[in-house]
Symmetry: C3
Subunit: 670 residues, 3 copies
């Protein structure tokens, strides 16, 4: 349970009472009760209202809101309000405005207009956090702290002189000597040798490709600069309210922040999910995948869906409304994948500002609207699901996700550009379509609970990660690696002598060349005539101990292996030298999965998701119908109470379009 | 008549003698006579020649030009020459250079490189205007003043510190208190509250969407900053030469300037029209539509086509020449729609500079060219049309065009991006294709002369406008409103409680949701089976007193009205909840138009335009054949003298490709 | 022979030992011997290693490398190392960083981050050059000097204040008086008159099109600024080592530098060729065309292919490897077109830096790789070709390539954008496909050796060039000119009175109008009915003495000539008023070529190249099969020794895919 103060599924949204006159607040309380709201994220963008002039704090209005919430049985996920500094900060400290690679400042008028290394910003943010903690530490409405908001979503990099100076200190701490930095950055190339720390700059606009190690370290530095802001606030809050959990809202596969690192500093993972209602299978699959990533960040601990849209958003080219039932379905999908809280942005749709066309739980049209009715219905329905709280997902399959490798992979100047996330999705989808749960792991993490671990394009491979993989396979694990893996070390320096470096013996092969985007490329299974299309990439492989499961049938590399399997220690290591068409891979993996004893939650038609959450003695089967038609399912061995209807189900069950069922069964001795 | 000094159709062009040696001037005079030129726009880009060093004025060459013109019977639309400051201004006053949202200055080397709020520019421009007025106030060649040139065409916004300071003053005058500004701008959103006027900035580069009210007010401020420049010059000119009309050249639907506002300060509306000769029906329809807008700015008063190309322009990706006859046809189209002057850019094609490949009335090849022959023939021909001067167009249909609403509509962060002008064109074309004249009106204007007024996407609706509409309908008018109307007030703040706000009772309905870009959307007429495609947008409508004329047959809003009609007071109010395919709307409107007694000028084949200009006792029917084949027309009740040929026509008339006829008939008691 | 020191085909690559520990150097020497390397380009990016702090030179490591090379029989094309300044230069002299048109600086982190007019850069570069010359002037390994590297490849224009000041001086020297500059730049247009030299700026960001003469002169100024850098280094080197040839590496049709001008200052032309291995016929034809241009720069003198990729590059979106045999084939193509040296970037593939995925002669995988095997095989094979050194190509056809005209043509604001190089390629391909050798000439050059000279879009035509053309034709030459030629003088000022100006009598016609991108345009041969598609452009021509060979059959210019021929003096002048489809032109030119007695080297199937290099008494026929299948050729009159196999060939010869043969025959009395 996330906090003992709220032993229910969290339900509510961002609450910005400062945008409305106080008489609206009273209406808010009535509507929150009607909608079953039990938690609101309060004051996220209220810094300028809390501190209208430097050092002049005005908390009375927030006092009244907090009191009113407490009176109405609603708890607060109280913000530190540091996400958007007041205009006076920019006026007093123009150097606090962030600067891009071309030297252009970002100005106030939007939000997040602060340099992550600005001393003035850091001091003011810390002061405000301290004041808020002090003011509300004992308030009965306080349930959780909401640090800042979506760190880095607009400004994930600043290139100003303050950052440059800080970067040099960060580099000094990392490399100790300039000699070491020159070696690690490969500055012998293009005459980039540094003779003085002060010569080093952020990767600003350069005439030609900027040094990749410099770029990579700047990504690390910026990730850590932002994390330092979060840590500074967390530390203040924990000193004052040691028992109140802290969170900040993540953004799924957001590239600039290494959330595996961030999650260690937070009590609760929470995140914001905005699938496109028009997006179809790709979007709901991506939502599922992202939930699984978020759940994995803290080892499977339930997370909070901190923001989703009640209906439309405002920032796409076309902002489709969620159709009737769609918001409910996506909410239950989050629960199915491990969420213990379903929250929205925002409670009441704004009248003014850049997000006024973002839908709210209370639309501009008020409570007599389809959207509010669906919100209120869901809020009441969720009250039946206290039992699910804390239940976990037991995955036997893991995908290797590594922000560090991704940062390096997606730099310029590669044989061809490859993106990490689509490769993860390619793998994820193979399992998702079979209702097999998947976790995400780091390359250096503990993989002992998994029967199968897959690492697509693990471009950067550290020695520790290689050791981890070696140990996993030799102890009996099954490991699958994709092309263009094991290429560089942590400074983006290429390993010499063939790939995947450090693991050639484990994989039983050595890669000699890369052929990106091969033309009309096909592979064959040995002894079969069916051509399997492949795309995106070809590693030209020299097999050693590995056996070819498929070979290329075209290109100058015809006859070379496209897919190999190698016995190593007690385990198996597979290598995919190309991207084989998903339907073939799906068929291939099926057999493999069966062999490893990795079973699906339930066999369902395409478009119907089945996920199981478990806790000692109890299992909850979530069934979600994403199809625009009713689907009838064979429940197989599942029978028990369907929690939303309260009825007992077994045998066949029909789900309406957007329909959801949650079947609970008792487990023996769990 | 625009000026008693020139009781003929104006004919001529921009005359830039400073680009040529004086012996060419004498050739110019001969050729002007040959071409029937009676007016030239003189000296528009001659500031640097008139004031080569600050305060050192050199007018002798212009004296000689003016004298020569007078001697040759050509009048001058004399420029104030302030459109492109000399290089010395930038050198002495670098702060006079405009700055974009990213802080980049624009440099000399092109034209219009001045900040509209630059004190140095304003002072120098005023001095030059004063000197010119003084110098030529009594010159016999002076017929009209041409202020500046195409205000804002390149630099319609400057974001410099001078503008920032001026913007604050402008805001102070508009909102009086900071509290009011904070309220109107919705600064409670994203922590944008201002505690001091000095914190306010132009909408420069921001990390996220910039405050929309700030953006909107900046558009107003820039429009007014430029207008202030124009007014300052007009004031100087009127003091010195109270009887000489002043104009500045407009640019049709140019977004940054609210020409309804500007026209009030000018004696004559003039504008520059550059349809693409390769553009086909869309381009000549757009030209007609733009002429009608220009004519509407001063309540139907004849305007001047100040610039058009004799043949090619130089600034498109592909600059097609006007084919033989095309320049003549487009010139007569301007006359048909209310012009009393046909002018060109420019008299003599330049040898050097950025526009040297822009065609001239006198091409680089001289007078022995197709282009000059067509120019000279037209000049002689226009002499037969003195009678048409001052005649007006009597429209019963009006379209609502509102720059303010357009500015707000086209800001970022909407359900989907909608452009105002294509919506006006969609409506315009329905009437244009039937030869029904159309005026443009403002939402708060006097609509009493119109039987039908149409407002597509009138996104911003002020209380005064709503009152105007209510009064119009209740008094018997017929009003059609399109989707996404009545959404926000003048500060882009959303009205609560359903749309179109302030007019729900007039329209008899309330809009609850928006679904932009619906997929495969169709509507049905009640009781009919033909599916009518619709696109772009769906308003989900709850009908009250309104009757559905068509309903949606697909989407989650199936069964909701797509088109409604409501009886209100003595009038009717129609609402279109989607964009129905034009052929259907055209068919629908036909019946409706007949019912309202709005007749076409004449029924003609597609591609042949018929427009009537009238004056007391006389009517002129313009017939224009845009098709590449001859067209034979039934003149119906029209008979009389065809002014270009001098022959009497009745019954059937054949127009050649690009052919034109102007039939005059006497009216009873007009 | 390029240098007596190395009487063999140069073979080697860029050698950057500073990127590797010294034990790798010893391996380098072994592998160089194995690969037949005889020359390396040394130290191109080693400035920061040679002068780690200002004025502190460290040459000992380079001494060791030079000694080791000498010991191993490898010579050095020693770099002046000035292509990428050390980071300290930017720190000490921030003004040395280049600035773009929008005022943005380029920072260190890549390479080439220097303003070409920076005094600090120039002084430091000269000092380093002087030191290097002094240090190695007598070293036995020194064979050639490699000045800088690919001048201008990233930074071909700087717009900073230093450049502005220098530009004014340059203009002062060019135009003497401001009056003259105003006249030549056409500053009477748009009020751009200058009253003081200090008012003149580089063509920075302007609100509208920047003055074209200003843009054009800035291109000249920047070309000369960069050339001045090259000349300064060459002068230092020649003073110290008068007998060592100097070169800098060119980049084919690179637009910013007028290589005809540059070649005069160098002893050897060398260049870098990077065709896309996936690019097919267009890419290998372009490589051939570029070789021919490079060969033409110094009147046919053999050049050096200074850089090519052993396999992949790193800077395309998709970087395909060279397939087996492709690198060898492209190397022999260079030899066939006049190269006496085949070099690579780079010797050993880098582990770090922006180009680490650029292939090397020694791949990351070491010598046990396909790429190294092919490199080593070629190195050994080339040793059989000493006889070819110095042989020349005898062309009877020339194409007019003029950087000055191209700069003007490709400025903005034309009837439509036309690019010069595709027009040259259109012409080139007609001959290339028939194995007819082509040279490139300047418009003012000596054309006496050519039977046929073709000038497509010679937009700018100087009086000297017109005189040259007139003389060529009247003396019996055959000259073909394409549309939009003879339009402007050297200041981009339009000639009046019809085109091609200065040559209307030579061509026997006058162009009155231009119609760019005509729609569905066709031409007809007189008396024939087959329609010949034409595109891109139409000159509307009034024929005088010229005879129409084809006439337009559509458009408003139907009946006007599309292609003309005029007898003038003893010669013929053809004019193409449009772009006729290549197959038609190819057919047309065939007859014409036969008539002029211009024969192909050998008739071959499409995709097989035949080129002849000759020297007194000997001819070498290069045969290159670009097709993916074997091709069997009829050697016709050719018989003799095939140099690669050592066998005597005659009659029929079969070339494998990527196959090459070089047949030598003795000539009578050559």
């Amino acid at each position: 349970m996330i906090t003992a103060k709220l032993p229910h599924v969290f339900y509510g949204g961002d609450y910005n009472p400062e945008q409305w006159p106080e008489d609206v607040w009273r209406d808010d309380m009535r509507l929150m009760r009607e909608a079953g709201v039990n938690l609101v994220s309060l004051g996220i963008f209220s810094w300028a209202q809390l501190e209208p002039r430097p050092g002049q704090y005005v908390f009375d209005w927030l006092d009244r809101v907090m009191d009113m919430l407490a009176e109405n049985g609603v708890l607060a996920d109280l913000a530190t309000a540091t996400a958007s500094p007041p205009a006076w900060l920019a006026k007093l400290h123009p150097e606090s405005l962030p600067q891009d690679a071309e030297g252009r400042r970002y100005y106030p008028g939007g939000r997040q207009h602060y340099c992550p290394n600005s001393v003035a910003y850091k001091r003011s943010a810390a002061d405000l956090t301290q004041r808020l903690a002090q003011q509300y530490k004992a308030h009965p409405a306080l349930a959780m702290w909401h640090i800042n908001n979506e760190y880095g979503c607009h400004i994930s990099e600043c290139m100003c002189d303050v950052c440059a100076a800080q970067f040099r200190l960060w580099l000094g701490a990392r490399y100790k000597t300039l000699e070491e930095l020159n070696e690690r950055w490969g500055t012998a190339f293009w005459s980039q040798h540094y003779a003085d720390w002060d010569e080093i700059l952020p990767p600003r606009k350069t005439p030609a490709f900027c040094n990749p190690a410099q770029q990579l370290d700047y990504k690390r530095f910026m990730n850590e600069s932002l994390l330092a802001l979060c840590r500074a606030e967390a530390e203040i809050l924990r000193k004052t309210t040691p028992k109140v959990p802290v969170t900040t809202n993540f953004m799924g596969f957001f590239k600039p922040l290494d959330y595996f690192q961030w999650a260690q500093d937070l009590d609760v993972v929470s995140w914001d999910s905005y699938p496109d209602p028009n997006g179809g299978p790709d979007e709901y699959t991506h939502a599922a995948c992202s939930h699984d990533l978020m759940r994995s960040l803290k080892g499977g601990q339930p997370f909070v869906l901190m923001e989703q849209a009640p209906s439309q958003v405002n920032w796409r080219a076309v902002n489709a409304p969620k159709r009737p039932g769609q918001m409910r379905l996506m909410s239950y999908q989050a629960l199915a994948h491990g969420a213990d809280g379903i929250m929205f942005f925002q409670w009441r749709a704004s009248r003014a500002g850049a997000e006024k066309f973002h839908s709210g739980m209370v639309p501009h049209g008020g409570k007599q609207t389809r959207v509010f009715r669906e919100i209120a219905d869901l809020g009441q329905e969720l009250k039946r699901l206290d039992a699910v709280l804390g239940a976990r997902i037991e995955a036997k399959v893991a995908l290797v996700a590594d922000w560090q490798s991704r940062w390096a992979l997606e730099l310029d100047s590669k044989p061809a550009h490859l993106d990490a996330v689509p490769h993860l999705r390619y793998c994820y989808d193979l399992f998702y379509q079979q209702n097999i749960p998947v976790d995400f792991v780091q390359p250096e993490g503990d993989w002992s609970q998994y029967k199968l671990v897959i690492a697509p394009v693990l471009y950067m491979l550290t020695e520790r990660a290689a050791k981890n993989i070696r140990g996993y396979v030799s102890s009996g694990g099954c490991f699958v690696m994709g092309y263009f893996s094991g290429i560089v070390d942590e400074n983006d320096q290429i390993y010499l002598g063939g790939y995947p470096a450090l693991l050639k013996d484990v994989m039983g092969l050595s890669v000699e060349e890369w052929c990106p985007h091969p033309q009309k490329c096909v592979a064959l299974l040995p002894g079969k005539s069916e051509e399997i299309p492949c795309s995106t990439w070809v590693d030209v492989v020299n097999a050693k101990s590995a056996q070819a499961s498929a070979v290329f049938a075209s290109g100058y590399f015809a006859g070379k292996p496209a897919l190999t399997i190698n016995e190593f220690g007690k385990g198996k290591a597979l290598y995919a030298a190309t991207l084989l068409e998903p339907s073939f891979m799906s068929w291939l993996m099926s057999g493999f999965i069966e062999q490893l004893g990795i079973g699906p939650a339930l066999a369902t038609p395409r478009g119907v998701e089945a996920v199981v959450r478990s806790k000692p003695g109890r299992q909850f089967l979530f069934l979600l119908n994403h199809n625009p038609r009713p689907e009838t399912l064979d429940l197989d061995s599942w029978s028990g109470k369907e929690l939303l209807s309260g009825k007992t189900v077994q045998g066949w069950l029909t789900l309406e379009p957007n329909g959801v069922a949650i079947v609970e069964r008792k487990k023996q001795g769990g």
